[in-house]
């Protein structure tokens, strides 16, 4: 509960501080400190030191998994703020509000990682979504930003409608909105429930940009101000996965025996769309958008498998994906040219940043020694553990290989091609944080236990 309340409070604080403080650059410090406090209190909460002892009834249930997920999201946001705080200031005048919205999103995140009631899922998703509509459109004079915002909004609202229909149908059968497993024995689901679950599944797939409900993703990610794309593509996306897995790990774990075929199809489609389309992209930013779809395809395995390995894997995946993507975006934001050619010769002018980028890209591509590898490993392991070794796993493998193609294009540009990159001077903190991320990626790639032990201790 700490996190939900405090993130809301901090959001309000930042919003209000906008009226008192003129200096744009001070907000990121405030936000940074607030985030660190939030992180600390979230961790404290996970060990039972809650400040607010509120009965959450059957709406929220806090678990280690949820707390750890929150921690990951908040910690990622901390890194994000350190790396990209300066760039947020460049988006527009409402810096305080942007940070406030980010805090509101975090509030939504901590709701969807802990909900036990469809109402909370709905509200949580909306709390996440609405600030994102706004952040996407925050570059108000930029037509692309406008367009992205409107597209996102229209489709988001539409998917909300679908989700509500799904929730309603579930309610119609059960008479309540709880997702907790009521009885040990698994009863076969009714038609109505299955239909409702499909609708909820579709809507959540939309949120995590799983194909064929991913169409908004590339456009929105490209149109949105790059800093916010970074935020959306990482923290928000993995949080929705937490919601997703919560939905299907509980009462609806077995969608009438139909889950795996549906999710299997979605996984294949997502991997295919994400990876194949990313191959053709000319802009790194848009490529990353498609890559985020592809990564979502892999994270869908957690939803497919819903077992212990899946949960562990999702945590690891979320972490490594967030770390790597945030770092890449942090570097990308400062580039003038988002095309692949814009990176030509980057290694020469910025060897350190290039090195970090390489680690991140390798992690995204799932090369061993980076956490991305173990994350993918866990996902595949989770899928295979369910006993169905088949086309989808092979497809995942093949598409993972395809993904190497576009990730390595960046590396090729940076290291093997000649070119001049005009890159602004970056602060020591920036570099340090990037190196920290790289180290984390590698450390987790060798000892994932560093992270996953928190699930059990």
């Amino acid at each position: 509960m700490n996190t939900i309340i405090l993130s809301a409070v901090f959001g309000v604080v930042l919003m209000l501080s906008g009226t008192f403080i003129d200096n744009k650059s001070s907000f990121k410090y405030i936000a940074g400190i607030a985030l660190v406090i939030l992180l600390a209190l979230n961790i404290a909460d996970s060990y039972g030191y809650a400040i607010f002892n509120i009965k959450t009834g059957n709406f929220l249930h806090f678990t280690k998994f949820g707390f750890l997920f929150n921690s990951i999201c908040i910690a990622s946001t901390v890194l994000y703020t350190i790396l990209s705080g300066k760039d947020i200031e460049n988006v527009g005048n409402h810096v305080a509000e942007y940070f406030a919205l980010i805090f509101f999103v975090l509030c939504g995140v901590s709701i969807v990682t802990a909900y036990t009631n469809l109402l909370m899922l709905f509200i949580g998703i909306e709390i996440i979504s609405i600030p994102l509509y706004i952040l996407t459109g925050s570059d108000k004079r930029n037509l692309k930003s406008n367009e992205a915002s409107l597209k996102y909004f229209l489709m988001g609202a539409f998917s909300t409608g679908i989700m509500l229909m799904g929730i309603t149908l579930l309610y119609g059968t059960n008479g309540n909105f709880s997702v907790d497993r009521v009885s040990i024995e698994i009863q076969p689901l009714t038609y109505l429930e299955v239909l409702g679950l499909i609708l909820i599944f579709v809507s959540l797939s939309f949120k995590v940009s799983a194909a064929p409900f991913h169409f908004w993703t590339p456009d929105v990610y490209e149109g949105a101000p790059t800093v916010f794309t970074s935020f959306m593509a990482t923290i928000v996306k993995v949080a929705v996965f937490a919601a997703f897995i919560r939905m299907f790990e509980t009462r609806y774990g077995n969608m009438g025996g139909q889950t795996d075929r549906l999710i299997g199809l979605v996984i294949i489609l997502t991997l295919a769309f994400g990876n194949l389309t990313a191959v053709f992209q000319q802009s790194v930013k848009r490529m990353l958008a498609y890559s985020s779809i592809a990564q979502a395809g892999f994270m869908m395995f957690a939803v497919y498998a819903v077992n212990d390995a899946a949960k562990e894997g999702l945590l690891l995946y979320a972490t490594s994906y967030c770390l790597a993507t945030i770092a890449i975006f942090a570097v990308l934001v400062k580039m003038e040219d988002y095309s692949f050619e814009g990176f030509n010769g980057f290694a020469k002018s910025q060897p350190l940043l290039a090195g970090v980028l390489v680690v991140c890209l390798l992690s995204l591509a799932g090369i061993p020694l980076t956490s991305g590898f173990l994350a993918k490993y866990y996902m595949l392991a989770a899928a295979i553990k369910t006993g169905s070794v088949g086309i989808i796993v092979v497809m995942a493998i093949l598409f993972a290989a395809v993904s190497v193609y576009y990730y390595f294009r960046v590396i090729q540009s940076m290291y093997f091609k000649e070119g001049d990159v005009a890159y602004p001077a970056v602060s020591g903190t920036f570099k340090f944080t990037l190196v920290l991320i790289a180290v984390l990626i590698i450390a987790l790639g060798i000892f994932p236990t560093l992270l996953l032990q928190f699930l059990y201790f």
Partner: protein, 642 residues
């Protein structure tokens, strides 16, 4: 006793040391030092060989196996690096080291015009060759023999391509090596066959356990071994490398392509005679091939104008004889012919070398003539050798050839007829060569004539020695018909030769008749050749059938178009079409396909919200359909998702 036999490892060691010294210190040694080292080590080997021979000759000698170390030892089999001293190997030791030494001696003079490092290189190669040949001969199992087998092939390659600046020589060298390798392949397969069936390649054990092999196995093994022998001993179809090998310096031709290396095949078959005796089919094949080779090469030799080429084809022809002998079971005869042939063929080559040396590397006999007055010693020795090879009694060739022919007659009259015919041809082309070269008048340039001289003693001494051997060598195997029980060689080798059922002995009358016919035909041929070519040598290009012979029955061209060109074409096809377009093309097509798919799929991303939502709704509809109405699709879906 056997004190020297146990030192047998020194015999190959000497040449090896010579090779190392000459090879490594080639830049610092003077020519004379090189010559002394190079020839000296062979002499040392020869001396030791003689000592061992004396030991072996003594009655009651048992073969000595000198085990140096385990070459390859794996769970299934062990191959020892060991040498075997017995009658056969000792005999070959003498031939190899003896003639080898003479040729080395000869080379010190013949190759003297080479620069010191190259001179040293030459001797290094020669020493290495002798070393390999000795390994081949001494090895106590097929693998060691194979080591020497390939080693002589290598040295042959190195020596043929000794003048590496000339690309034609290089091609010839490569051809020799590759053709040898084809034969080696057969040898190797035979070795594997033995290993697979018997788990050993050791002669003693193989021959002891030969009874456990099926007839098919034995036939296969012997056939494969024969393929190896055909490669090394230049039999049909693998003979074409030998004439080309004349590209090397003449001593090389003498050493390798006459006296030693080409006899390796004979050695191997004699060594394996116990196997061959059990494989009548193989024997028939061997005899037929040998005979065919003898005839074919002899016909070709008639129309050759290069002095060395003639000799080369005569070598091929004589080898064919030896195989005929092997094929009809006259192992001793074959060995006997190997020996006599080694004497007179070395002599012929060295004589030819002497001639070539004298007229400054001219090899075309049409540009020679009348050399007998300029080079008396060469002339005489060459003539003796020609007589010997023609099978004129009492020269050595007569006895050995006669033995083979007699055995052939016993076996099959047709063999004998063709054999005699070939013998006639041999006499004809040899004396064509002799007459064209030494009789008549000199047809070269005046400048060449001015320089004509007899060769120095380092060349003539070996000639003389070999000439003596050519003349008297035949007395080692006097046939039964002249003096009963005087065939020394047969006695000497008898412990190693398979005991076959006694051939129905020819009556003395028949035998005399056979001898008479063959000698008569030879004499007639000599007469024709002498009279025809000493006055008016064949100067114009051959036409008609002669052209076919001059062009060696177009066998080279045939091989070229049937084997070499198709292989090259196949390589080109694989390289340019299959590799680039099919296999790599397939790999690249996957990449291209992915890019293409990416290009196409991205069109779905039209940018239109309406389309996006439409697609979402459609997918939703499909999903619901799939779940609720998709039972009919179950097999397909299960296949996809399971």
């Amino acid at each position: 006793m056997n004190q020297f036999s146990h030192l047998v490892y020194l015999i190959p060691l000497f040449p090896l040391v010579g090779f190392l010294i000459n090879g490594l210190a080639r830049n610092s040694l003077s020519k004379s030092a090189t010559g002394i080292i190079g020839s000296g080590v062979i002499l040392a080997s020869f001396v030791l060989s003689v000592l061992i021979f004396l030991e072996v000759k003594s009655p009651g000698f048992q073969p000595v196996i000198v085990n140096l170390f385990d070459f390859i030892r794996v769970t299934d089999f062990t191959i020892a690096f060991s040498f075997r001293v017995d009658q056969l190997s000792t005999l070959w030791l003498l031939i190899v080291t003896g003639i080898g030494f003479l040729i080395h001696l000869y080379s010190t003079s013949y190759m003297h015009s080479e620069a010191a490092p190259h001179f040293a290189r030459f001797f290094a190669y020669m020493n290495l060759f002798v070393f390999s040949m000795l390994l081949l001969v001494l090895g106590a199992n097929y693998v060691i023999m194979f080591i020497g087998w390939e080693g002589v092939g290598l040295c042959s390659y190195l020596l043929i391509g000794y003048w590496f600046k000339n690309n034609d020589y290089n091609y010839a060298a490569r051809k020799a090596f590759v053709m040898n390798r084809i034969g080696d392949l057969g040898f190797l397969l035979a070795v594997f066959w033995l290993l697979a069936k018997l788990g050993t390649v050791d002669y003693t054990e193989v021959f002891a356990r030969v009874a456990t092999l099926s007839t098919f196995d034995i036939t296969a093994i012997t056939m494969l071994l024969f393929v190896g022998a055909a490669g090394k001993s230049a039999q049909i179809p693998l003979y074409t490398w030998l004439p080309d090998a004349m590209a090397g310096p003449t001593p090389v031709s003498a050493l390798i392509h006459a006296a030693t290396m080409v006899t390796a095949g004979i050695y191997m078959i004699v060594r394996s005679n116990i196997l061959y005796s059990l494989a009548p089919f193989t024997q028939a094949v061997v005899a037929t091939i040998g005979l065919a080779t003898a005839l074919l090469a002899a016909t070709i030799a008639i129309k050759q104008n290069d002095i060395k080429k003639v000799l080369a084809y005569s070598t091929v022809s004589q080898l064919g004889y030896m195989f005929l002998g092997l094929g009809v079971g006259a192992y001793t005869g074959a060995v006997f012919h190997v020996m006599t042939h080694a004497f007179f063929k070395a002599l012929l080559f060295l004589g030819a070398g002497s001639v070539i040396h004298a007229i400054h590397n001219e090899q075309d006999i049409r540009n020679m003539g009348g050399l007998k007055k300029y080079m008396p010693i060469t002339h005489i020795t060459f003539l003796l050798a020609c007589l010997a090879i023609s099978g004129i009694p009492p020269f050595s060739g007569f006895f050995s050839k006669d033995e083979i022919l007699a055995a052939a007659f016993e076996h099959n009259v047709i063999f004998w007829i063709i054999g005699v015919l070939t013998a006639g041809l041999t006499a004809f082309y040899m004396f064509r060569l002799y007459a064209t070269t030494f009789q008549g008048t000199f047809r070269g340039t005046p400048e060449q004539e001015h320089h004509l001289h007899e060769s120095p003693s380092a060349i003539t001494i070996p000639l003389i020695v070999l000439a003596i051997l050519s003349v008297v060598g035949g007395f080692l195997g006097i046939p039964e018909v002249f003096a009963p029980d005087s065939h020394w060689l047969e006695h000497f080798l008898s412990p190693l030769i398979a005991k076959t059922e006694p051939a129905h002995l020819l009556t003395h009358a028949t035998e005399y008749m056979l001898m008479g016919v063959s000698v008569g035909i030879a004499l007639i041929a000599i007469l024709i050749a002498w009279t025809r070519y000493s006055k008016k040598p064949e100067m114009e290009e051959a036409t008609g059938a002669g052209k076919v012979l001059a062009n060696k029955w177009y066998v080279d061209e045939l091989y070229n178009s049937v084997i070499a060109v198709p292989i090259q074409k196949l390589g080109g096809f694989l390289n340019n079409i299959i590799e680039k377009n099919v296999i790599d093309g397939l790999v690249n097509a996957v990449g291209k396909g992915i890019q293409y798919a990416g290009r196409q799929i991205r069109l779905v991303q039209s940018g239109q919200v309406g389309n996006y939502i439409l697609l979402m709704v459609l997918s939703l509809v499909l999903m619901i359909l799939l779940i609720f109405y998709g039972h009919n699709l179950n097999p397909i879906i299960n296949w996809i998702t399971k």
